[in-house]
Amino acid sequence: MSAMSGIGAASATGGTDGLALATRGLLKSYGSRRALNGLDLSVPSGVVYGFLGPNGAGKTTTMRVLTGLIHADGGTVEMLGRPFKRGDRRRLFEVGALVEAPTFYPYLSARANLRELAASGAPVSSKRVEELLDLVGLCDRANDKVQGYSMGMKQRLGIAAALLSDPKLLMLDEPANGLDPAGIVAMRDTLRALAAQGKTVFVSSHLLAEIQVMADVVGIIAAGKLVREGPLKELLSTQGVIKVRVRPNLVDAAIATLVPLAPAERLTETDRDEGWISVRLTTDRAEDVNQTLAGAGIYASGLESGTDLEMLFLELTGGQGPTGGEGAFVGLGALNSGAPAGKGTAE
């Protein structure tokens, strides 16, 4: 926890002591499009760090820079306490990574793929290959050709490949992709166990619920810049959501009643037919919400409170969609009317 509490100070001063990974002023452009715009990340040692951002925010570009696949136009990277520059490939001997989709020789088996991959980079024992096949639950299919694998099995093998050299720092890009629920739980447990051993796990994802249950620290980026970083609990402590259910015909009256407690922009009818309203207040205000409604003669038939990373994410990223390059969704209304699309439309 001490490493986590030091994160704010490290970011503010630019210091990188006690950090497993730090970037300062990272810049990267693809042609005229700026993918990273002065990114400052501070990843403490021994935590699961959730790296969040909307599509096109620069998550994968960051992962590519951190694994030496591409080179930044500016800024610095410090990895495991030492600078990581172009040509410092040996620093990656202590790092495991799964960037984008897992990649293998389709005509080789899982076991052969891991063995041949182990021939590159840091030396790995053949015993380690067997351990990892067991860890990711692929022992039974280890001699089957990878071309016959499902996406989830390839993902499991990709995670095994990232763990080959028993890395101190593990970087995973959307590791839950294609995994079944049991696989997601197993992966989460594995990553938590690695962090408990003192290793640092850097997970890029857009699955907020997954990050919420797995990460100790999160960093949220938008348009290539860090917009918030810190221990998840601290961030969420200011980001409560209280959900209250009233009779559907009383939804409007209930919202009007709650305005003194929360500004209108923090009040949302989430399901009018069922009578659900969301109030963005810290969770300790649930009692006030109930009391206020009751005082107005509106009785809640349901009340839930909790913290919500999604709300924080949308607030910090402005609910923005892609910043270009990865496609965009447009509002249905815009499609029907031909009017300009609102949030979520590519710029």
Partner: protein, 271 residues
């Protein structure tokens, strides 16, 4: 060394290895046996055909012709093979996996090519052995003598011819390797390589004095004993002396590997 042997193990199990070798040997055996089987079915106008069959199937001269056939057709196949191996490293993303493990990009590519070189050497020797067996069968079918099989002076010169042939084929493989690396794709690399092969042949009609320095022409000239040679695509072109051609083969080989290495080292690996 572990990366080199890993590269070789990967090639040993790769379908492209068997397909390429199978096509080369299959075509070779088919042609040689067919020539032997039909050599006696000549009519009055086919005296030249029978003479050609006799040249192909009479040892020790057959050694040279069979080796030329392997080097000629094998060069095209080696170019395609080199392109397939290099291109797949990009298409399948396996280069990316090695780079994220801290492997040197240049070392990885050069050792991958070195394993291709070993595989090609084995392929040439095996193909030559099969060709000789097919030649003997063809000669028997045609009723030609095989007494020249054990000609010591020819057999003594074979290792040198095989070595030169290997270097020539390796140069053609390196060309495909470099093209596919630049294209970052198997299919694009193979397509561009084949276009280059036939383009060189086509250009020899208009620019024979330029084409004789081009990679496929110098590869053929390096293993040739005559003054004219079969260039890319099968066209006959004026060729360089064998020693000079061999030097140029080495230059093309090093140049191709240099281009592939530099490109890989500088490339942004995405996708």
């Amino acid at each position: 060394m572990r990366l080199f042997f890993s590269g070789f193990r990967k090639l040993r199990r790769r379908p492209a290895t068997f397909v390429t070798f199978g096509l080369l040997v299959g075509l070779l055996v088919l042609i040689v046996i067919a020539v032997g089987a039909t050599a006696n079915n000549t009519t009055n106008g086919d005296a030249n055909g029978r003479a050609a069959a006799r040249d192909l199937l009479t040892f020790p001269g057959a050694y040279e012709i069979l080796l030329s056939f392997i080097i000629g057709l094998g060069g095209l196949f080696a170019m395609i093979y080199g392109a397939a191996i290099a291109g797949s490293e990009w298409s399948w993303g396996t280069l990316k996996s090695a780079v994220t493990r801290g492997e040197s990009r240049v070392r990885y590519m050069l050792l991958t090519f070195a394993s291709i070189g070993l595989m090609i050497a084995i392929g040439i020797v095996l193909a030559f052995a099969v060709a000789v067996v097919a030649g003997v069968i063809g000669a028997n079918l045609a009723g030609f003598s095989t007494s020249g099989l054990s000609d010591t002076s020819t057999l003594g010169g074979l290792p040198e011819h095989l070595l030169k042939g290997w270097i020539a084929v390796l140069e053609e493989a390196s060309l495909g390797f470099a093209i596919a690396t630049l294209a970052r794709s198997q299919l694009a690399g193979i397509g561009a390589g084949i276009a280059f092969y036939f383009g060189e042949s086509f250009a020899s009609i208009f620019l024979p004095n330029v084409v004789k320095y081009m990679p496929f022409s110098v590869a053929n000239a390096a293993v040739s004993t005559g003054s004219a040679n079969v260039g890319g695509g099968g066209a006959t072109v004026a060729s360089l002396p064998a020693d000079q051609a061999l030097l140029l083969v080495v230059v093309w080989l090093i140049g191709s590997l240099l281009v592939a290495s530099l490109f890989t080292d500088r490339a942004e690996i995405t996708g």
